[in-house]
């Protein structure tokens, strides 16, 4: 059996490989195989899986990519992820991708979908507009039809029909995957010193480029290994990281937060893995089931409208309670509309509940960690020195 550091080393290799060699290899093994890229906030990966398509989660270029052409597409006051994503495309690193899905997170991604159409007229590109109306008969119906249109699009890529049974089967596979993701998160919540956040992060990142079954295996291996490994517990406080659901911070930033005295006990990285809060039923009309799961059982995030004012921020506050967190760190990408516009409301909700928080901004290629360490460190100091418990 592998130990955690071997598993994480493998994940790190995948993470650092901006040429997506692992996914390419998977595809090259069989000429019939197809790959569809998406930005991992929320898309119904089950549909791709049902068509035998590997869904590739694309998270920009990170801090190791030198962006040269991306700046020719974006002004300086737009976040970084679209420019490094374009850079990936322009430098032909995504030339093996047969289709692209752009989830409805913000105007930048929305417009990126159009740019992709202009840039690659031959690739299947879909702006996947999920409903902001959460009533089954309205938003739900609309969504079922969107799913149907997407399914037809995917069928166009693979040249055959995707059956309901295939979808049901895929739903089950993803239910399993989600259970494991949640198990890893729960384990970290319970014993954060045994599952450092940067490891958990890399483990989830691996799920972006691997077939889902392999990812599930990787997670159960990790869990098995981590439980038995002994790592020292540090004098850290427990925080939840919020606002990083799209452009991701560099790995060093995640490490820096932990180094400066904060255990991250929950986060919103790669939401697609945990967007749905419950299992999707495997019987009945699978598209309706997916639609209902989205409408009824998805988490709260800045990219989603909250119909009832009273519910705003509840999800986060409940998470703080459930995970016994001592504070929240809002870490959002610079120029990120959804996260930054949401922040004052979330912060307000926290203040009303006496939950301490701090906030800062980053970019996927932030190099100077000193200011981050300092703020996170001060936050940790304050909790450690002044909280009643310690």
């Amino acid at each position: 059996m592998k130990n955690t550091s071997e598993i994480i080393e493998y994940c790190q290799e995948l993470y650092e490989d901006i040429d997506f060699t692992a996914t390419r290899k998977w595809k090259d093994a069989d000429p019939a195989r197809k790959v569809v890229g998406y930005m991992p906030v929320y898309v119904p990966r089950e549909l791709m899986h049902a068509g035998g398509i590997l869904s590739l989660g694309i998270l920009g270029g990170g801090d190791s990519m030198e962006v040269i052409h991306g700046d020719a597409y974006y002004q300086s006051y737009i976040c970084r992820i679209p420019r490094s994503t374009i850079e990936l495309a322009v430098t032909k690193r995504l030339d093996f991708v047969d289709g692209m899905l752009f989830p409805s997170i913000c105007d930048v991604i929305r417009n990126l979908s159009g740019m992709w159409k202009l840039l690659m007229p031959d690739v299947y590109v879909r702006y996947f507009d999920t409903p902001q109306n959460f009533i089954s008969g309205i938003g739900g119906d609309y969504y079922v039809n969107e799913l149907r249109e997407l399914k037809e699009g995917l069928e166009g890529i693979i040249g055959r029909e995707i059956t309901d049974d295939q979808i049901r089967n895929s739903i089950a596979v993803y239910n399993e995957n989600r259970r494991l993701v949640n198990a890893v998160y729960d384990f970290r919540t319970a014993e954060p010193w045994k599952a450092p956040s940067w490891e958990v992060y890399l483990l989830m990142r691996a799920g972006m480029v691997l077939p889902v079954e392999e990812h599930s295996q990787l997670m159960s291996d990790y869990l098995a290994a981590a439980v038995s490994e002994d790592k020292p517990m540090r004098d850290n406080c427990r925080i939840i990281l919020q606002g990083s659901f799209c452009e991701q911070p560099p790995l060093n930033l995640i490490k820096s937060i932990e180094l400066s005295g904060c255990y991250i006990v929950d986060d919103d990285y790669m939401l697609v893995t945990r967007w749905l809060l419950e299992d999707v039923p495997t019987d009945g009309d699978p598209l309706v089931n997916l639609s209902e799961a989205f409408i009824k059982h998805s988490g709260e995030t800045a990219a989603k409208y909250v119909p009832d004012a009273a519910d705003k921020g509840k999800f986060l506050i409940n998470a703080v309670k459930d995970k016994a967190a001592e504070g929240v760190i809002f870490a959002a990408p610079s120029f990120c509309d959804p996260a930054l516009l949401d922040r004052p409301m979330m912060a307000g909700a926290l203040s009303r509940t006496d939950i301490p928080y701090i906030s800062f901004k980053y970019a996927e290629n932030s190099g100077q960690m000193q200011p981050i360490r300092e703020q996170a460190g001060t936050f940790a100091d304050t909790i450690k020195l002044w909280s009643e418990a310690s």
């Binding site: 200011p371 300092e374 460190g377 001060t378 100091d381 304050t382």
Partner: protein, 283 residues
Amino acid sequence: MTITAGIDVGTGAVKTVVFDVQDGGAGEIKWLSRQTEKIRQRDPHRLAREAFDNALEEAGVTQEDVAYIATTGEAESLDFTTGHFYSMTTHARGGIYLEPRAGAILDVGALHGRAIIIDERGKVLNYRMTSQCASGSGQFLENIARYLGITQEEIGGLSKVADAPEKVSSICAVLSETDVINMVSRQVSTPNILKGIHLSMAGRLVKLLRAIKMKEGTVLMTGGLALDTGLLAALNEEMIGQKVSVEALSHKDSIYAGAIGAAIWGAFRHEKLAKIGALPLAS
């Protein structure tokens, strides 16, 4: 008797103090020794060791006598310490030690400015830092001083005799530099240039204070620029200008605020850990 040491590794200098602290800071606090060492392109960690040794010697104690060696600043990875506190935490505590009336701390160093609201126990309540752009930093002032041919110690005195200061407008230090050069060519006097820079910096610092809702009371300047009397004067002028009824003070030992805070928090933490029986070994 609890001997503790505070080591503040900055971008410009390493500051070290040794204290004797009673009851984790609640009782008597005795200052035993102090050391500053300008870094000047040397290895800060080596300097920190040297400064620490010198401070021990001056205080007449040995490393074994020290209950808690606390660092602050750029020193998380120093290898001979007990624990690390972050700058704002330490400046807050050091500030309240130096000036018990202070309701806020303005820490202005080589590359940064921070405004920190504190309570009477030195707890950080709220803070703001200057953003990435650096035209309001000590470094910039240093560069300009070099260009104008004056020493850092002279800046304050000159600034205070200005009669018609001209503010620099740009956010960017590079562009501000051009502003200054243009001023020189327009024969604006050195005091007026310096005062102009001081006022621009002060304007930004007052904004920080307002951002964290510091509306009245006393604020203590700490960090290297606390020694710049011109900046202090400009700060007080700007407060009046921006209708903030806050008085800014400096202290002759302001530059040690971080190190002092570290030493006192070290003692506090030492007590706390002793109580729960989790004393770490001072290596």
